[in-house]
């Protein structure tokens, strides 16, 4: 018993170290969404209102994407303690990641209590121990635990809800906490509105008899859930944007691609083809169904798992996918075993795994490691089951050899991942994490008194948010001077045009941008030429580079320039 506790504590300590070590420095930079959550939490802490002046909103307007509130709420105490910085913003996600590993330990042991790996005479490992260890070193889980990306917190609540639900089969009172946990997930991430609903439908079908026997408790738990959700319902009635947020603009129904394919199919039929048959063969409903199915299966592909992973910034890990190559064999074996054992609990785990990518399949940016993040829980538990039962096939002395080689293999893969994360991300793709903004704002603060206007490029992300964040700009002052352009662009983002003397043009094109002296221009390296001279109204203007910001690999990230008359 004592050794079990030691093993558990060692796994938690490893998970905590991997998630908190240099949290403010790696990943390099602070992504725009993280920055927005940080500043809105800061604004709530200081004024009780978000950046737009709305008191304790249930969805943050932010960049026009109406972010769900839980992450900002959880970030408030962290910022109050550690200040408005990268560490303070990311700490809640890191803690959620550590807690998820603890939950997975209990969840896996709840589902597979009798499956144990025995090595030697007395050393045994439960599926829970191996699953939590695998999750502790999982690239997919680490990626989202070390950044403030809401899905890490959501997965914690969903897995907690599932564990408590399974516990409630013995003691129905756990159902109340389970309901509260699922509701918390809904307050954390839009995708949860689909994932939790489908998971609950699945659980109801699987455990219908047990739930029917406890129908009074079930009804009360459902009622509790509805009460906890009622503020959200009210917010949705008041502002429909709260219902969908950015999901509206990234949904496949917003994507013109399907309509183009439909048109192409009708064109191939030719004008003489009967209309009835044309409509029967090529109709929107079926095209969307195929598209959703295709996007769903992209989350179950080798390419996504091991080869290229998620290439959408900032979720890219260079030269690898989102899981370890060795996982593939064991996860398949684990799924096979879960089907063979098929009881209510294994089926609920399989349901959790397979409903997780559904929400992501309705968006046109797939495969998406963030929107399908809940898969990571089922994935690691089933991999652990596969490992346990695979090694158990062997005789005593062979078990030790197999375990040794497996350990070496995983250590090698883990080392490779660490190299990609700590060396290659800063060297190869720091821009995907918006690296350089902190250094840029520091330089701007030194130079800005010399200028009447400061013009920022919005390329790669809305520049205003880093200004607010790194300058710890007073939210009240910001709200007094900000100019918001509410017209959304094609990706659903609104535009902050200016505040104070900072200006953010929609397009930062050096040739067409309004050029005046006493203005500091800030853009990416490729957006501003090294040398530029022009005669305007008989005055000759020349470009002077004030400063530059470098990436960790020595390449130029930003240029800070102004014009002088000669």
């Amino acid at each position: 018993m004592k050794s079990k506790l030691t093993t558990f504590l060692l796994i938690v300590a490893l998970a905590a170290f991997l998630r908190i070590y240099q949290l403010g420095t790696f990943p390099p930079g602070l992504y725009s969404d993280e920055t927005s959550y940080g500043y809105n939490a800061y604004s709530l802490l200081k004024t009780g209102k978000d950046e737009y002046g709305k008191s304790w909103p249930l969805s943050f307007k932010s960049f026009g994407d109406y972010k769900p509130p839980m992450t900002a709420w959880l970030t408030i105490p962290s910022i109050a303690l550690f200040g408005l910085n990268e560490f303070g913003v990311r700490l809640p996600s890191a803690i959620a990641g550590i807690l998820t590993i603890i939950i997975v330990y209990f969840l896996a042991n709840e589902i597979f209590p009798d499956r144990k790996l025995t090595i030697g005479k007395s050393t045994t490992f439960t599926v829970g121990e191996i699953a939590s260890l695998l999750l502790a070193i999982s690239p997919w889980h680490l990626q989202f635990s070390r950044s403030s990306m809401l899905v890490g917190i959501e997965a914690m609540f969903v897995s907690l809800g599932l564990w408590l639900f399974l516990k409630s089969l013995k003691n129905p009172h756990w159902l109340y906490l389970s309901a509260a946990s699922f509701v918390a997930a809904i307050y954390t991430y839009y995708g949860s509105r689909v994932t939790v609903a489908l998971l609950l439908i699945g659980l109801t079908i699987i455990f219908f008899r047990q739930l029917w026997q406890q129908r009074r408790t079930v009804l009360l738990a459902a009622f509790l859930g509805l009460i906890l959700l009622s503020p959200l319902f009210i917010a949705i009635i008041k502002d429909p944007q709260t219902l969908t947020g950015r999901a509206r603009t990234i949904s496949i129904f917003y994507d013109p691609g399907i309509r183009a394919k439909l048109w192409q199919a009708h064109t191939l039929d030719g004008s003489s083809f009967p209309v009835f048959w044309g409509r029967l063969f090529h109709n929107k409903a079926y095209f969307y169904f195929r598209d959703i199915s295709r996007r769903y299966f992209q989350h179950l592909s080798y390419d996504f798992w091991v080869r290229t992973g998620d290439t959408v910034p900032p979720f890219d890990i260079p030269n690898m996918g989102i899981v370890y190559l060795a996982d593939i064999i064991f996860v398949f074996y684990g799924v096979y075993l879960a089907f063979r054992y098929r009881n209510g609990k294994t089926l609920s785990l399989l349901t959790y795994l397979f409903v997780s990518p559904i929400a992501a399949s309705f968006t046109f940016i797939t495969p998406a490691s963030n929107r399908a993040f809940n898969m990571v829980i089922g994935w690691n538990i089933l991999t652990a089951l596969g490992i346990v039962q695979f090694i158990n096939h062997f005789h005593a002395h062979k078990k030790q050899i197999i375990t040794f080689f497996l350990l070496i293999g995983y250590l090698g893969l883990f080392g490779y991942y660490l190299f990609q994360y700590y060396v290659n991300i800063p060297q190869q793709i720091p821009y995907k994490w918006h690296y350089g903004r902190k250094e840029l704002i520091q330089k701007v603060s030194l130079l800005e008194n010399k200028y009447d206007r400061i013009v920022f490029s919005n390329k790669e992300g809305p520049a205003y948010i880093w200004l607010l964040f790194y300058k710890q700009y007073d939210p009240e002052k910001y709200r007094q001077t900000v100019l918001v352009d509410e017209q959304l662009n094609e990706l659903g983002w609104l535009h902050i045009a200016a505040f104070y003397k900072y200006i953010f043009p929609r397009e930062f094109d050096w040739n067409s941008i309004d050029k005046t002296i006493k203005t500091l221009y800030i853009g990416y390296e490729e957006q501003i030429p090294d040398h530029w001279e022009k005669v305007i109204e008989s005055k000759k203007y020349s470009l002077i580079v004030d400063d530059i910001v470098l990436y960790p690999n020595g390449k130029t990230a930003f240029k800070l320039v102004h014009l002088e008359t000669l």
Partner: protein, 211 residues
Amino acid sequence: MISQLILILVVIFTSYWLWYNYRQKAILIFHLVFLCLTPWVLTLFFGHPSLQRYPLQKSPDSINAFYERISANLAYLSSDDFLFFVGDGRPGYGTGENGMFLLSFLPLILIGTFETIIKNHRGHKLIFAWLIGGLTLSVFSSNVAGLPAALWYLPSLSILASLGGYKAFELLTGPKSSLTVKALLLLNFLWIIYETLLLYHAIIIHQPFQY
């Protein structure tokens, strides 16, 4: 001509395999009917795929490039796009509107796999060995991943689809299944009919010159 000959051999071998292991005429009939509705079979029969191999070459540059080639082959050949949605994109190697199988075959392949796992049928290990071994051969056998390379493992999936189809039909017509299961299976069979019409529509109307 060569592709048709290979197809005949595949049909004979898979039919013999099913008969040897299951001894049921109904499964054999399902198998033969399903083969007529399978895009990769129709492509071999009506299309013009060249079965010339481009053997995988060890890259002189580095072992990484070799690994990357294998990895890319595996990713392509096991992808949903190749199997169910797009297929081998080259003209004459498929319609481009379907994968190697109709999407409606997927539930049948899953049912067949599940049945094979649960029932421990004779030859159940062999079918998975064929699938995994065939996929491995496909990945290593060609420098250009596509239909010709995939012929090593596609027949094993067709067998699983046939087993699944037979099981689905049993459940649909049997007295023990619930109404929901029956409705879902009926829907699946209707879906197969719809997709078959779409497949032949694509072959006859959309791409008459490639077939």
